[in-house]
Structure formats: structure tokens, C-alpha cells
């Protein structure tokens, strides 16, 4: 077919709740010539939106997901398609009772309502639930049920009223046309549609669409089984869709809810069933809709037994039968998060996938804001499609991890919990030595990173109670007191830290200096051989990244950033390269490895093996030098994220092991130990008040608020400068502070250690909200072994950001008095940085 269709500014593929939210918010933001395409009919084209259970629980442990869900509830409510019923998450175990306290904590941190309810209160709210095995519940009064199909219709109508939208239902996308890395249009069964932007909002089918364009949207369609039973006499007297609170039997991985005269029973307790996108039937072939597959009864048996135990009163009622049962398809990703943003491979082609109905309008709005203004109200960096590395995109990885994320859906997931599958994918050259030292590995971006070393267990005796041992199981899970022992030993002697997970980019060419000036807040035109730690901002002055830049030559900069967010940073840098070709960008992550050598004895070690003078005078703090360590050429960088004298030492990947062995041998008489990321990422960092991206640093806060602004603003232009200058001249609405817990045994008699994200409250237990409406919570938490205190970082408004101020932190049902130790970025430990500069 060769019919010429009108040109589209934006083509949105997929008319589920995500696609509809996108066209609505894009139209609201002023976009016109939007075309919405779906191969199915409207209003229900046959994707997951059409069969979802549509209920919404507003409280999540993630700040942005909670905010996006709130935004979505508000949208559904404004459209008259939200039925607020309240909802209860049941506890069958002691562990879940604790999890409920964690929910309550998260609710308080993010400004949502939620409280504990006793079995008696549950019985009163949902009399048909058998509470014999129920210990209590978390009640969310704002939980409810939305109608995403009706919402979608309203959204399309509103976009049409603005004369912004053309709808093409029953239209199949056959190909996505890409030229020179830029999307050009869509080959449809009805002709060619030229489009400047293309948004893939096709849920379960995303992989197929991504394949057409040569991009990756790593998700897997998985089965979620549910059935409808009825007619339920207990619901007879009620009108409307739902009058009883939703019931989430989380310990059984199930939910039960009223739906008119019926009850829906949904389950995630069955085995993980992946249904490849290519095997999803077409609308014509499907008995119902393409994503409502034939129910596989045997898989649901266990769920039925559980449901009988909980709501047997209804199920055993004469006349109540199974009216409908399906294997519904939904999207699941290898890390459980959505996949949002412009694809790294193709310009103007966006993925907006793996989004639940509960947060879809919120994401729709954020994407429209990102496309329009380059920044969104809620920071959705964690969902960025660019976060995936090559291995993350493989079918092998996606399927392995989806088995795990499916099982984590309703389970209690510890914030530090690690994935078990698809490991050992990226190994540093030091790995054999680390393994021999009994490293306990965490994973970051595929890298195996030692978190602590069992070989250092002998230090526990030496440091005793100073290692702040944890008796509470939850606090001590995925943790070891060895971390604190390594910390204390490093502060007295010297430690070697594997930093190979860094993402490292070479920026070269005649335009490199000007380009780097544009990208970074701080002065980049420094002497060759200097390093600069700098914020990277978005256009609105919010944090995009914080990283270190080494000037290695007149036209050569090396950018070093964390592996976790490295790929997102890479896209940001590449997106801003000048078009004239004067700057070349090269990812050298896989070419280089890095070891940190830190501690008061670091120089004693290095001077034995370096062929240059490493004294403070010859190699001052902040300097970068290339030299030889025995036979190995290295570039060393005198800086520290742990607050000690020492160097980050870079060499070629294949020489890494030799470098490790040389340093180790040279360090033997200096009591060198291997130190894990537990020290580097948490204890040493927090004692020094260093900010971490994604925790303290996010686009909600600016460099002035987080204390990273330099006194003077450089004269050269840079991204976000206008906002930065404006913020520079004003009183910040909040200041990042370091707080200490006065007495960790205050609430229960047992020492408890917060893990992060807990609400900071006034002494009266009231929430603290700054002038911009942001709530105070612990952005980071960790032991400070050298200061002997448990430390928190939190943004506090001026009234509370005062040294000595007494406040409270809430943790798992208890409140603890905290003291503001530092307001701003001055380190609590070694405030003058004398150790680093010695």
C-alpha cells in the first residue's frame, strides 16, 4: 500500500491507558498533529488495559512511584472514573507485620495516608474475610478502583477537542522507519505515516515494535491469573462497582475484591509463565482479547485453596460459581521498573512501557513534560530506558530476572536484596583475589562488587562494639559488621577498594573544552593534570548527575561516573555533542579498571612501587598523574570518596590483576586489607557527608540545596545555568543536613538502625514540609563507625536546618530522637579534610 497519510508530529503506538495518557498530556502541553495508532478496536484494543483489575494502592516504598500513583489517582478522580474504596493489605506473618510498619513509614515519608488495622477492624470492614489466620493489616483509605478504558476515552476526547489528535484504530504498524539513527515514520497497513516523534506504548508487544526499529525494550509478557466468581449474595445490597475495601492477601500473593455483584480473585502465587510477544494471538485469532489467554486451571489450584481459606464464606455460598477465568498478560521487566524515555539507539523514538494502570497517567504527564521542557516534575531517572546495559537487553537476562521480579511482586523485599540469577556477567580483573578473600558480592550494572570480605572477619574481635553489631534481623540482613571493621581498619591503616564498576568516557577533540564547559557546572578549563568534581544539571537546574572529570590533555577529558547510572549519563553526554564533529565521545569503561588505595598509610604503599615522587608536595590533592607502578602504566588521581589520603589508580583491564598484586604485596607490612563497597558507598561516604546520585542528588533538588554549589558561578555558559544562578541568589527552601541518632535503643530497647527513606519528623511527630511542598526524609542512612553514631542525611527547611536541632525519625513503628550534626556539606568526620590533604 502506498497511500500517503497526513504528516504526524508525534505518532503514539498503542491505545491502552499509557498511549491515551500520552496523547492527552501532549495535547495539553500544546502539541498538535498527534496520531494515535492501535491494531485493535476502541475503546478496548485488546492489551493489558482491557482486562486489568484496575485497583490502586497508593503507597509504595519508592518515592517517585508513590508520587506518580498519587498524580494518577488525582487524574482519574478529576475525570470521574475513580471509585475510592479503601484497601487492606493483610498480614499472616510476623515478618509482614513489620512490613506493614514499613508501609506506614513510607506512607509518612511520601505524604500518603495509611495505618495499622487489627483483625477485628478488618472483620468489621470486610465481614466475609476469615480473619482466623490474620494478624492485622495495613489500611490505605485512598485505595480504590479506576476505569482506565473510560479514562482513555475521556483523554482522547479532550485531545480531540483541542484539535490535536487523529485516531487510527484497527491499524497495524508493519515497520518503524529509521534513517541515520533518527526515526522518520511508520509503515502502516493503511499507508506510510511520516512522523517526527514515535512513542511506543504497546505494553506486552513492545519487543516486537522495538525490533522493527532496532532498539531494545527489555520486558517479557507474563501471565497473571485471575477469575471472577458470583453472583455474591453479600454484595447484593450494594450498588456500583465496589463498596468494600480491596483485600490484598500479600502473604499468599493474592488479592480479592468486589466487582459489582461478583468477586475477583487474582493471583501471583502460580508459577511464572512467560508468553513470548510473538506468540500473542491477533485480535482475530483470540477467543477473547489477545491478552486474555485461556485459563490454565492446574496453575490456579493452589490459589483456589488459599482463597477458600480466606473468603470461603463467599465461595461456599450456594449459587456462587466461577463466571470467568483468564490467564491475563502483563509486562514485567528485569528489574521490575518501567521503561521510559528516548531510546539510546534512535533519536525521537521513545519507549513508554511496563507501566501499571495505577501510575499510567502520571507517567504520561512526565513524558509529555520531558518531551516539551526536557524535565519532568517527578524525577523518573530510575525508569530511564537508557539504564540497561547490553547484557540487560538479552532475552536470557530478561527471562531469568523476570522469574525473580514476578516472585517479588507481593513479597517483602529488603532494600538491599540482590538478584540471584544472571550474575557473574561483568567481572573486574581483581575478581579472583576478591573471591579468594571471601568477598560477599553485590551487583551493580552487572558488575560483581565486593560489599565486604569474610577474610576480614578477624578484625571484628579487634574493634568489638565499635563495629555496631546489629541484633535486629531486618537491619542486619544483607549486611555484616565486617563492613564497619573494614572501615575502622582503613581509617587507621590502608585499604584497597575495587572501583572497576565506574563508567568512564573519553571526550576528545578541538571542541572538547568548550563542550565540557557547557555540560558541567564547575570550571572545566583547568590545567592539564587537574581533576574536578562537578554537578551536571538539567535545563531547570535540577541534578542530572554528579561526576568527576579529569583533564588529561588540552583536548582530552576523561569523565568518571558511577556504574549504576553510567549508561544514563552516557546518553546525556552523547545527546549534547556538537553537531560539527569537533568532539569525539568514547566509552572506555571496558578498557580500564580502577582500584582505590586509601588510608593514612596509602603513601607508604605507593611510594614503594611508583616511579615518581608521591609526596604531598609533588602529588597534591586533586592532581592527576600518569606514571609507572613497577611494569604497569597507571593514571592516578588524588581524590577520595572515603575521606582518606590516597588515590584512585586506573590501568588497562588486562593489567589489573598484576596491579592489584603489586599493591597488595607492597602493602603487606602496612596492614593493607581489601575494603568493600559497604565502606566506600555508605559508611565512609556518610561520615564525610558525600552526596550520592539517586539518593541525595535528584532533579527535585538543586546544587545550592544539596550544598554542592561553589561560591562563584563560572562566567561560561552551561546547561541549567539560568536556574542555577537564580537559585544561587536566593535562600534555599531546604538544606541537606547530616543527622545522628541519639539513642538507637530509644523505641524498643533493642538497637535499631534505619536503612534510608524514613520520614524525619518534628519532636511532636509532625511531618516536616518545606516551602516547595517537599517532605523531609532520610535520603541515606548508615553507620558512622568512626564517629560512633548512626547517621542520616536529609533535606530540612531553614527552620530545622540548624546544628543541634532535635528532631525525630520514624522507623518500623518506633520514633527516635535525632540531632542535626551538620547543616550543609561540611563533613562530620574530619571537617577540614586534613586527612585527605595530608
Amino acid at each position: 500500500m502506498s497511500a500517503e497519510l497526513p504528516k504526524a508530529k508525534v505518532a503514539v503506538i498503542g491505545a491502552g491507558i499509557v498511549g491515551n495518557s500520552l496523547v492527552y498530556y501532549l495535547a495539553e502541553k500544546g502539541w498538535r498533529d498527534i496520531v494515535l495508532i492501535d491494531k485493535g478496536p476502541l475503546p478496548n484494543p485488546g492489551g493489558s488495559t482491557g482486562h486489568a483489575s484496575n485497583f490502586i494502592f497508593p503507597v509504595d516504598h519508592s518515592k517517585e512511584m508513590t508520587h506518580l500513583t498519587r498524580d494518577s489517582i488525582n487524574t482519574y478522580t478529576e475525570m470521574g472514573v475513580y471509585n475510592k474504596s479503601g484497601g487492606i493489605e493483610l498480614a499472616r506473618t510476623e515478618a509482614r507485620l513489620q512490613e506493614i510498619q514499613r508501609r506506614i513509614t513510607s506512607a509518612k515519608s511520601w505524604g500518603e495516608e495509611g495505618w495499622f488495622v487489627s483483625p477485628e477492624e478488618i472483620k468489621e470492614m470486610v465481614p466475609w474475610v476469615n480473619t482466623d489466620d490474620i494478624l492485622g493489616g495495613f489500611y490505605a483509605p485512598d485505595a480504590g478502583v479506576c476505569d482506565p478504558l473510560r479514562a482513555g476515552t475521556i483523554m482522547r476526547e479532550r485531545a480531540q477537542e483541542l484539535d490535536a489528535l487523529t485516531i487510527m484504530a484497527n491499524t497495524e504498524v508493519q515497520d518503524i522507519i529509521v534513517e541515520d539513527g533518527v526515526v522518520k515514520g511508520l509503515q502502516l497497513d493503511k499507508g506510510y505515516l511520516e512522523a517526527e516523534y514515535v512513542l511506543i506504548a504497546t505494553g506486552c508487544w513492545s519487543e516486537l515494535l522495538a525490533d522493527m526499529a532496532g532498539v531494545h525494550i527489555p520486558l517479557a509478557p507474563i501471565v497473571h491469573q485471575f477469575m471472577t466468581v458470583g453472583p455474591v449474595p453479600q454484595f447484593e445490597a450494594t450498588t456500583g462497582e465496589i463498596n468494600f475495601p480491596l483485600v490484598r492477601d500479600v502473604d499468599a500473593n493474592m488479592y480479592e475484591r468486589q466487582n459489582g455483584s461478583d468477586m475477583e480473585i487474582g493471583s501471583y502465587c502460580h508459577k511464572t509463565i512467560i508468553h513470548p510477544a510473538k506468540d500473542i494471538p491477533s485480535n482475530e485469532e483470540a477467543t477473547m482479547t489477545p491478552t486474555e489467554l485461556p485459563f490454565t486451571e492446574d496453575d490456579f489450584d493452589e490459589s483456589l485453596e488459599i482463597a477458600m481459606g480466606l473468603v470461603g464464606e463467599i465461595l461456599e455460598t450456594e449459587g456462587v460459581g466461577v463466571r470467568h477465568a483468564i490467564n491475563g498478560l502483563m509486562s514485567l521487566t528485569p528489574d521490575g521498573g518501567p521503561i521510559i524515555g528516548e531510546t539510546p539507539e534512535v533519536k525521537n523514538l521513545w519507549s513508554v512501557a511496563a507501566i501499571w494502570i495505577k501510575e499510567a497517567p502520571g507517567f504520561g504527564r512526565m513524558v509529555a513534560e520531558l518531551m516539551t521542557d526536557g524535565v519532568s516534575e517527578v524525577d523518573i531517572t530510575a525508569s530511564d530506558v537508557a539504564r540497561f546495559y547490553e547484557h540487560n537487553r538479552s532475552k536470557h537476562h530478561v527471562e531469568a530476572r523476570v522469574y525473580e521480579t514476578f516472585n517479588k511482586m507481593y513479597s517483602i523485599v529488603h532494600p538491599a536484596e540482590q538478584y540471584a540469577s544472571s550474575r557473574m556477567i561483568r567481572l573486574s580483573p581483581f575478581y579472583p583475589r576478591e573471591e579468594a578473600l571471601g568477598a560477599f558480592f553485590y551487583e551493580t550494572a552487572g558488575w560483581e562488587r565486593p560489599h565486604w570480605y569474610e577474610a576480614n572477619k578477624n578484625l571484628l574481635e579487634k574493634y568489638g562494639d565499635a563495629t555496631m553489631p546489629r541484633t535486629a534481623e531486618w537491619d542486619g540482613r544483607w549486611w555484616s559488621p565486617i563492613i564497619n571493621a573494614e572501615h575502622l581498619h582503613m581509617r587507621e591503616n590502608v585499604g584497597m577498594v575495587d572501583l572497576t564498576a565506574f563508567s568512564i568516557f573519553d571526550v576528545t577533540g578541538p571542541g572538547a573544552a568548550d563542550y565540557m564547559q557547557k555540560m558541567a557546572v564547575n570550571q572545566m578549563k583547568v590545567k592539564v593534570g587537574r581533576s574536578v568534581y562537578t554537578p551536571i544539571l538539567n535545563a531547570h537546574g535540577g541534578f542530572k548527575a554528579d561526576l568527576t572529570v579529569l583533564r588529561k590533555g588540552k583536548n582530552h577529558y576523561q569523565v568518571v561516573t558511577g556504574g549504576g547510572n553510567g549508561n544514563v549519563d552516557k546518553k546525556w553526554f552523547k545527546d549534547h555533542l556538537p553537531e560539527d564533529g569537533s568532539v569525539t565521545f568514547h566509552d572506555v569503561t571496558s578498557a580500564l579498571c580502577t582500584v582505590g588505595l586509601w588510608g593514612p598509610k596509602a603513601r607508604n604503599v605507593l611510594e614503594k612501587v611508583a616511579n615518581i615522587d608521591v609526596s604531598n608536595e609533588a602529588f597534591p590533592y586533586g592532581a592527576v598523574k600518569t606514571f609507572m607502578i613497577n611494569q604497569i602504566e597507571v593514571t592516578a588521581f588524588r581524590i577520595s570518596y572515603v575521606g582518606e589520603l590516597g588515590w584512585e589508580i586506573y590501568t588497562k583491564m588486562e593489567q589489573g590483576l598484576a596491579l592489584w598484586d603489586i599493591l597488595w604485596k607492597a602493602g603487606e607490612d602496612q596492614d593493607v586489607i581489601a575494603v568493600g563497597n559497604g565502606v566506600y558507598g555508605t559508611t565512609a561516604r556518610i561520615e564525610k557527608g558525600y552526596r550520592a546520585f539517586g539518593m541525595e542528588l535528584e532533579s527535585d533538588y538543586d546544587p545550592i540545596e544539596c550544598g554542592l554549589a561553589r561560591p562563584k558561578v563560572k562566567s561560561a555558559d552551561f546547561i541549567g545555568k539560568e536556574a542555577y544562578v537564580k537559585a544561587h541568589g536566593s535562600t534555599p527552601a531546604a538544606t541537606l543536613c547530616t543527622l545522628s541518632v541519639d539513642d538507637p535503643t530509644e523505641a524498643t530497647g533493642e538497637a535499631r538502625y534505619m536503612l534510608g527513606n524514613e520520614p524525619i519528623l518534628t519532636l511532636d511527630g509532625e511531618a516536616i514540609i518545606d516551602a516547595k511542598g517537599r517532605r523531609s526524609y532520610a535520603t541515606s542512612a548508615g553507620n558512622g563507625p568512626s564517629v560512633g553514631k548512626h547517621l542520616l542525611m536529609a533535606y530540612l527547611p531553614p527552620a530545622h536546618a540548624k546544628v543541634g536541632e532535635k528532631l525525630k525519625v520514624q522507623y518500623l513503628g518506633g520514633q527516635y530522637t535525632v540531632t542535626v550534626e551538620v547543616a550543609g556539606s561540611t563533613p562530620l568526620f574530619d571537617p577540614t579534610d586534613s586527612r585527605m590533604k595530608s
Partner: protein, 259 residues
């Protein structure tokens, strides 16, 4: 009264049926399976009859029988979840069995039941299967067993050891008095079948379904190949949008004589 209900696993209607490449079978990849709708009514009727009689103190046996692949146990369990006591599966390798072979197999199963001490007073069939629609198996079984048979039944009662069966005609009802044991092929409209209950499902799950395998002995015409019927063109006329369409709708309803 002992009642046997014979059912058939069939693809659910509503989707486009694809054929396998050799045109010998239906491609079942995306299909949902059910039983013929008439047979749901037969199951419901059996459950009701047995309930009424059991309540009156009579002992009743109810069983559901099918010939089909191992997955046809799903349909047996559906019947059991509705309240039928037991199921019997004549398991095939998934190949097609024609009406002659099927009826022979069913008769063998019924005779095996008899040998085991279970004799049926009433054997219910659906009037015709939802897939091949041959109207044959019930009659062939009746012939082989030498039992009276009535078909197209929409009402069933019992008196004096006889079944009083009503068949709908254009003029009203034909009423048959059939001595028991008898074969009755029923039609949708006989009753409103219940949904299988959850406790019933769980009970059915725990029951073992006796399975037998028999030789496929085809007879009658051979199958050459399957062919999809030509697609029917559906003509759609837009009557207008919103309130503007109302008067046209009234005109059409008048043309149709509906108002």
C-alpha cells in the same frame, strides 16, 4: 436413578479458526476449549435430577463421560465442579474420531460400567456437537445399546418409570413418553446451567478420573481435508453520530416491524 452425561471438548466459538498446514486439523495454539453448550445443559439437568431424587431419599449415581485428548479432563472436571459425582475419560492421541468410532467407544465404556455394576437409567447427550455438528453419536449409541432415544429436548420430567420429554416445534411442543433406560439428547434452553463452584472445582481436582484407551476404528466417509468457509462480508452502515442518528434508528426499527 443413575445418569450418564456424554460431552465433547470443542474449541470455544468466537475466534477465527486457523487450520494446520496439511488442512487435516484445527490449529489449536490460541484456542480456548469448552464443551458444546447443549452439553452444559445436559450436565445441569443431571445435577438437578440427582439432587431432587437424593433429597427424596433415592440413591443416585451421576457420571460424565468424554472421548478426547488428556486435556479433555478439564471438561470432565468442569462437570464435576457443577456437581456430577465422577468422570470417565476415553483418552485419544488427539487424532479425529468419526461418529462411528466414537459411538463404538462410548458403548464399550458404558458396557464396562455395566460389567462393574453400574447401569444407567438415563444417558444424556447434547443435541449436536458445537464443532462438527453431526447429530449422530447419541443416536448411534442408542442403536447399539438397543435403547429408545429422543432428541432436541427442551424439557424433561419423569413419571411412572418413564421420561416425559418435550421437543419444541414451530407449532408448539411434541411430547414423548420414553421408557427408561433411555437416551435423551437435549438442547440449550432446557435450563440455565450453573457456573462451576470453587469448592466443586477443588473437590473435582482431588478426584482421580479413570481413563481408558480404545482402538480408533473409523467407519463411514473419510476426511479428505478441512476447509474454512468463505468469509462473510459484513456490511456496516453508519446511521450517524449521537442524537442525529436517532431518527434513522426509528425508521429502521419501523422497517423491521419492530415498532
Amino acid at each position: 436413578m443413575n445418569i450418564l452425561v456424554c460431552i465433547k471438548r470443542v474449541p470455544m466459538t468466537g475466534s477465527r479458526i486457523r487450520l494446520t498446514e496439511d488442512e487435516q486439523m484445527i490449529d489449536t495454539k490460541n484456542l480456548r476449549f469448552w464443551m458444546s453448550p447443549h452439553e452444559e445443559c445436559a450436565l445441569e439437568e443431571a445435577v438437578r435430577i440427582a439432587k431432587a431424587r437424593t433429597d427424596a431419599g433415592e440413591e443416585c449415581i451421576t457420571k460424565v463421560l468424554t472421548l478426547g485428548p488428556a486435556d479433555a479432563a478439564d471438561q470432565l472436571k468442569h462437570g464435576m465442579a457443577m456437581g456430577i459425582q465422577d468422570g470417565i475419560l476415553i483418552e485419544t492421541d488427539g487424532s479425529d474420531w468419526d461418529p462411528m468410532a466414537t459411538s463404538k467407544a462410548l458403548v464399550e465404556a458404558i458396557e464396562a460400567e455395566k460389567a462393574a455394576g453400574v447401569e444407567y437409567d438415563l444417558i444424556l447427550f447434547g443435541n449436536e456437537s458445537a464443532d462438527s455438528g453431526g447429530f449422530q453419536v447419541g443416536m448411534r449409541v442408542a442403536h447399539k445399546l438397543g435403547m429408545p432415544a429422543v432428541t432436541g429436548i427442551k424439557d424433561l420430567e419423569f413419571a411412572d418409570g418413564k421420561a416425559i420429554a418435550k421437543r419444541e416445534t414451530t407449532a408448539g411442543f411434541d411430547i414423548y413418553e420414553v421408557p427408561l433406560p433411555a437416551i435423551v439428547a437435549v438442547k440449550e434452553g432446557l435450563n440455565l446451567p450453573r457456573y462451576p463452584s470453587v469448592p466443586g472445582r477443588l473437590k473435582a481436582k482431588r478426584k482421580k478420573i479413570p481413563t481408558m484407551t480404545l482402538e480408533n476404528r473409523p467407519g463411514g466417509p473419510d476426511k479428505v481435508r478441512l476447509k474454512n468457509p468463505p468469509a462473510t462480508e459484513i456490511q456496516t452502515e453508519m446511521l450517524g453520530e449521537g442524537a442525529a442518528a436517532a431518527s434513522r434508528i426509528v425508521d429502521i426499527l419501523e422497517e423491521l416491524g419492530a415498532i
